[in-house]
């Protein structure tokens, strides 16, 4: 039997302490989308190195023989996966499944999941951080960018919620 989720305020406190530790130990916040970017950069670098060297975008990640996979953000997201797995194992929530509303098909759910990923990470690259990197970490250091991004994300999600309501409720 799977365990119940932690009380949200307790979980928030735990997350806040992790964020505080990141600030105290490394002088930086948390991040997730940055790690995805570095994965892509290293894939592109491995597949088509001349293209990467030519592009204004990729080339800066290969300057001076830098290795995009050996990067704080990339290692951090491996940690996220490990930590999530650990927590799932402890609370007996490990299970392969597609989570969706019973009113929609698996294919529909997966198509939208894919599209959501595309949009989210594209926007995160533009805003230089996602909900964790820009909004959460930004708010914790009182950065204006953090608050603006947070309001934009939640505001827009509420705006679009009506259009996608069939997917969820």
């Amino acid at each position: 039997m799977k365990k119940k989720y932690m009380n949200p305020y307790m979980a928030g406190t735990m997350l806040g302490i992790v964020l505080l530790l990141a600030m105290f130990l490394a002088g930086r916040g948390l991040g997730a989308s940055g790690g995805l970017k570095y994965c892509v950069v290293s894939i592109v670098g491995a597949v088509d190195r001349p293209h990467a060297d030519k592009s204004v975008y990729y080339s800066k990640y290969f300057e001076d023989g830098k290795k995009p996979l050996k990067n704080w953000l990339t290692i951090e997201i491996f940690g996220v996966i490990a930590g999530g797995f650990l927590s799932g194992a402890l609370s007996k929530r490990l299970k392969f499944k597609i989570e969706k509303s019973p009113n929609i098909t698996n294919t529909r759910r997966l198509i939208f999941a894919f599209l959501g990923g595309v949009f989210f990470v594209y926007g995160a690259q533009l805003a230089r951080g996602c909900t964790s990197g820009a909004a959460l970490s930004g708010m914790a250091v009182l950065s204006v960018a953090g608050f603006v991004t947070m309001i934009a994300i939640f505001g827009s999600a509420y705006m679009f919620a009506w259009f996608f309501r069939k997917n969820w409720i």
Partner: protein, 200 residues
């Protein structure tokens, strides 16, 4: 006196080990909060589950209080902690695109990774989509470079813009958050969907 990384020049392996440990804590906290479930996350936008706002604001406020106190006790130099730089257009437009992605996919990158780690297949597809998104951004970067780098304001802090002390701003934020928590729990009752919440 923190941040430790600026205090001593850490060897690379230690720096990356810290990254791994922080990442693990991050993933663990997200999963424990229930962010590995897209339907729980989406509940935020339909009112039946407001965990997102509770966890999100509690975390931001705890880190904010903690860092202010550490700085007060002379243990952390906040001038050496990274402050996100403010690109007005990029932050707003990026945020709007992210919001759309959030409601479509039901995850944000961090929660997606953590859902993927416990075997959610939709999260794996979300992750693939994320990689595609990052790839698309890199390829379209030359044409949106101007937008991405325009209206640059630097690493501005919100309390400095408002002209108040960081402590006072934190207090105001807490007051706002407490109000939101209260509204969120009222909404959870009003829009309750036991069929969904019992399922996740």
């Amino acid at each position: 006196m923190g941040p430790i990384s600026s205090l001593i020049s850490m060897p690379e392996w230690l720096d990356l080990l810290i990254a791994l440990m922080i990442g693990m804590g991050f993933g663990f906290a997200l999963e424990q909060a229930g962010f590995s479930s897209s339907r729980k996350l989406a509940g935020m936008f339909y009112g039946y589950d407001a965990t997102v706002i509770k966890v999100f604001f509690t975390a931001a406020i705890v880190a904010l209080i903690g860092s202010q106190l550490l700085s007060y006790f002379g243990l952390l130099d906040l001038n050496l902690v990274f402050v996100n730089e403010y690109y007005v257009a990029a932050s707003i437009i990026g945020g709007i695109i992210m919001g759309a992605g959030f409601i479509m996919g039901g995850f944000c990158p961090g929660t997606g990774l953590c859902a993927l780690s416990i075997g959610k297949i939709d999260a794996m597809i979300f992750f693939l989509g994320g990689l595609t998104g990052a790839f698309l951004f890199a390829e379209t970067y030359p044409s949106i470079q101007k937008l991405a780098n325009g209206y640059y304001k630097g690493p501005v802090k919100i309390n400095e813009v408002m002209g108040i002390s960081p402590g006072l701003f934190t207090f105001l934020l807490i007051v706002a958050a407490v109000g939101m928590f209260w509204i969120a729990e009222l909404a959870e009752k009003k829009f309750a969907r036991p069929d969904i919440t019992n399922d996740i």
